[in-house]
Amino acid sequence: MIKQIKGYTKIFKGMKLPWLLLFLVIVICMIRSHVEVEAITITASIIDGTQNSIKTDELIRYIEFQLIAGIITIAFTYASGLLLQKINLAVRLRVWDKMMHLPTSYYDTDNVNELVTRVTTDADCAGNYFQILINIFTAVYAGIVAYQKLFSFQFQMALASLLIVPVVVGITVLYGKLTFRTGAVARTRLAAMMGYLAEHVRGLRLIKSFRVEEEERMKADDLFKKQCKADIFLSYTSMIQLGGMEVVGCLTIVVSFVLGSQMVASGEITVGKLIGFYTLCSMAVARFATLCTNFGEFSKNAGIVHKIGQILEVPNEPEDGCEMDVADADIILNHVNFSYQTASVLRDLNCSIPKRKVTAIVGTNGAGKSTLFKLLERMYNPTEGQIYFGNKDITDFKLSSWRKSFAIVAQDKPLLSGTIRENIMYGVERQVSEEELIHVAKMANIYDFVMNTPGQFDAEVGPGGSNFSGGQQQCIAIARAMMRNPDYLLLDEATSNLDVKSEQQVTAALSNLMKGRTTILIAHNYSATVFADQVIVLCDGEIQAVGTPEELLKTNEYYRTFAKAGSGVAK
């Protein structure tokens, strides 16, 4: 428990929290407990009153109290809602801020969809923390206030009714343990079903083609059945709470009325007080019951908060370093090693990437080509060895300054939803004139189709750019890279996944972009390497050969196969 509380407080460190509001909510809670108890007392005296005659002043007081109770409830609803949402917002913003500044390597280890939930649903859970604390506090406070009143009503009866409290606690603990277990089973079963469906819904064509509909139906049936069973079982456990609370209700009656009727008979208390006692006692017991649910809730949230805490603990990307003083220089790799977790990805890379030249990297899938790009962009740091820019280690430069001199055009998901204009201007801080935009669009081969699209530059590209074809998306990405006007250009198989016609267009746009820049490209076909000044052959994380395309055609086996495969048509 203490460990959990520590985990909670850690994530709120450095967050601006609405303390005043929190204080206000607690005060309202306290007032509410008193009003509730008072209202019951008044009811008791009214009941006593009605046995003789109706007193209007007591009725008016009753109405007054009801009104006050109503107003307090409204105030509480509003204030606590506001508090909860403000805290949720603070957590969300904090996590999002952190996510923007985490090193990219973090994103490889965690599932992307899961990271999204950190900001959405998980942040809500963390915000609940204060809600739960307030609930626990209120439960305790209201319980105490209620019992104070009970003791003032009748000492022995109040003492007897204290015996009910351990029963309530016992039932709630039992219930909590049981639901935890059955709940876990139900969740696993649900997850299994969802996993199955998500996977098979995408493979419907294959299922039909193979005529295995019946088999898949049976498999799903089995999963549905299991899930259904777990759900039913889970709802059976809720009976323990339900039945238990009814038993507690019975006990309250027994204590109140068995003892009470004797007291009434002997004239020690009035009927009104007896009824008041009963009502109040039921309320106090109910309060204690919520205490236990809140503790359960607390531990349930602790796991989620732990996950948020983990993110917040990861150090940010460094922001210190010097500005870049020269526009371009040769990039030199000096004994660069890189391991991803335990797997070694790049081993002892030594080469130089000359400025204002085109360097092509070829190699098999998984040879480490994309990883090399990530090292150049400083998304990762080499495990061993250094990368030099001219004669300076690249880690000496300020990260933002370093990255500003790069632009990347990669093979998949190049666009973000928004308009074409927003995509082209992405990351550009200066003012851009319409003429410049049109010039860039023409250079990137997109001007014609943009003009033919309704809305032109303000047309929406759709999620992930899906309103446009692969080739068009790629050309917009090229326009974006041009707008950035970088000194270094990284092309990661920018033309794969395109059909021949689009590939030509993209290649034309690319050659405009490459003019006058240092270009490093990962090539998947031979034609892209022909014009390179230098080709690096990367195999299994090691540099196998470096040279001009002509040299390598003579000396390197892999490059020859690569050339043949890429131009098989042209024998």
Partner: protein
């Protein structure tokens, strides 16, 4: 149920279709009836509650009253638990049955349905919609009539005390109905606002998190931070709307509750003073009035839920109405040989023409490549051959028999299918390799096939061999390994025709070459039809079919087409540069 029938007869069309839908989803009627009876008992017991409590509250010190009360509470506990407990199987089994029916339907629906409805979106029909709808539905079926019974009997009891008392209960009913409808609408609106804001935020985050390296490369963190903050503030505002609504709701319900208490009290006190009722009757009436008001609330809610069920089930009902792939042919015709002929075939997705008057032949045992730009109708031709779609004109025949005159089992039994980014479901390697084989396969046979494709090498590297778990979509393997697995599977399936939809497009040059070789070496005698972007494949095939915007632009082998077909020349133009470079 009789309620439902009555409503269906009121003439509204959608009630009729709603009723039809209910028949289709196989509700567990026996469980519902049991739960219904339980709920009935519960309501019957509930009717006694005010009298018993009144006995207690009137301050009677008689031990019999007390004993009765305790007995009553024990009975009440049992009935309450039974009511809740027995409702749960009814609800969950109903949900399960809906899931079954929907999934079965989804498996058998015609492919063209999925062109306009993304199957991934349809998933929530099985998961969320089924749960929500059946919960509300069972609640309605089980609870509606007993609640009516309770309300009527309670009113009768009150009127037996005094007729005027009964009438006083109705005073606030119109206000309540207006309140529920008004608040319900408002609630729907604010809830909708929250859902769409959550949707916005999630969509925004999902996209940005996936493109994080882009954000970093373009050093645009600060701007994205601002955008994210705006989305978070949007959600905050939406939640605050809900909060405000809650305040209004609690204010209104406090007011209405108070007005009701006042009415009941004042009315009761007057009658009490006049001596028309006893104190015990007054207390009983007091308690009845609050439970009755809950009953009225419930009845109003039942009515509104009924609408909600219809709304929730709208997609389900749309799905269940979709046409299925039915075997209209009872006695399938056996094709003679496996020559494939497309005769003047046209096809359109809705208004969009995909294929226009296409004719070609694929002789048995030959290899054919279908090439063309994106959207030129290549994959559509394969789908027509597998009879996923019906051509709008012309016919597709296999061995002289139109594919529409064969049963789907017969027809698709001839076809093997390999896809871009191979389709592999999670499970063990053995399960993935034997998927769709419809027969027991010995490990020996699997190993033999795996040797042929080279997958055996990979299998041997894995410690658990055939029992190694395979991740969903086969993502635990490289693209080349996946294709090898799928080719092994096809080898064992031993079909006459192999359809390959861009088998090499996700692979690098070396892997692509390897997979090509495997295809030609493993399946020398099968008919191979491959859709491809990979031009290096086309010189190995016997026949090339060039599609351009749904029109057959050329058909022949490489040397026949070279120089004679403009679309073909366009497609290989990109390779010219390489040709020169190599020579």
């Amino acid at each position: 149920m009789s309620e439902k029938v009555k409503k269906a007869e009121t003439g509204k069309g959608h009630w009729h279709s709603f009723w039809n839908l209910l028949k289709k989803i196989h509700l567990p009627w026996h469980w519902i009836i049991i739960a219904f009876l339980c709920n009935f008992c519960y309501n019957k017991v509930m009717l006694k509650l005010p009298t018993v409590s009144a006995g207690l509250m009137s301050g009677s010190t008689d031990s019999k009253v007390l004993w009765d009360a305790i007995m009553f509470y024990v009975l009440f506990t049992i009935v309450l638990c039974a009511d809740v407990a027995l409702r749960s199987p009814a609800r969950h089994i109903a949900a399960r049955n809906v899931r079954r029916v929907v999934w079965k339907k989804m498996l058998h629906i015609r492919m063209d349905y999925y062109d306009s409805n993304d199957p991934s979106d349809m998933m929530s029909v099985i998961t969320n919609d089924a749960t929500t709808a059946t919960e509300l539905l069972v609640e309605f079926l089980v609870g509606f009539l007993p609640t009516v019974y309770y309300a009527v009997t309670a009113l009768k009891t009150i009127s037996s005390y005094n007729v005027w008392l009964m009438l006083s209960v109705f005073i606030l009913l119109p206000v309540k109905i207006i309140y529920t409808v008004f608040v319900g609408r408002w609630q729907y609106k604010t809830q909708f606002g929250v859902f769409s804001q959550i949707g916005n935020l999630t969509a925004y985050l999902a996209e940005r998190v996936r493109s994080l390296s882009l954000i970093k490369t373009y050093t645009n963190e600060e701007k994205e931070l601002k955008n994210g903050e705006n989305a978070a503030y949007g959600l905050f505002d939406a939640y605050m709307q809900v909060n405000k609504l809650q305040c209004v709701v609690s204010a209104l319900s406090t007011l209405i509750g108070m007005a009701q208490t006042m009415a009941v009290m004042v009315f009761g006190v007057i009658l009490l003073k006049l001596g028309d009722i006893t104190l015990q009757q007054w207390i009983a009436f007091f308690m009845f009035s609050s439970t009755l008001s809950t009953s009225f609330d419930n009845l109003i809610n039942y009515w509104m839920n009924l609408k909600m069920i219809q709304g929730t089930l709208a997609r389900t009902s749309h799905l269940l109405m979709a046409p299925e792939e039915e075997d209209t042919v009872k006695d399938t015709k056996k094709p003679e040989g496996t020559d494939i002929v497309f005769e003047n075939v046209s096809f359109a997705y809705g208004d969009k023409k995909a294929l226009k008057n296409i004719s070609f032949q694929v002789p048995a045992g030959s290899s054919t490549a279908i090439i063309g730009l994106c959207g030129s109708g290549k994959t559509t031709s394969l789908s027509l051959l597998e009879h996923f779609y019906e051509p709008s004109e012309g016919k597709v025949t296999l061995g002289g028999v139109p594919v529409s005159e064969m049963t789907l089992d017969e027809l698709r039994g001839y076809m093997g299918y390999v896809q871009q980014g191979a389709d592999i479901f999670s499970g063990t390697a053995r399960e993935a390799l034997t998927y769709g084989l419809h027969r027991e396969v010995s490990d020996d046979e699997i190993w033999k096939a795996a040797e042929k494709s080279g997958f055996a090498e990979i299998l041997r590297k894995w410690e658990s061999g055939l029992d190694t778990p395979v991740a969903p979509g086969g993502t635990s393997m490289s693209g080349g390994q996946r294709q090898k697995l799928v080719l092994t599977r096809e080898f064992m399936r031993d079909t006459d025709i192999l359809l390959l939809d861009e088998p090499t497009s996700a692979l690098d040059a070396a892997a692509s070459k390897l997979v090509q070789d495997t295809i030609f070496e493993m399946f020398p005698n099968r008919t191979k039809i491959m859709v491809t972007h990979d031009l290096s494949l086309i010189e190995r095939v016997d026949q090339i079919i060039v599609l351009h915007n749904g029109v057959l632009a050329g058909c022949g082998n490489y040397s026949e087409l070279y120089g004679n077909c403009e679309a073909f020349m366009d497609l290989i133009a990109a390779c010219e540069a390489e040709k020169e470079a190599v020579q």
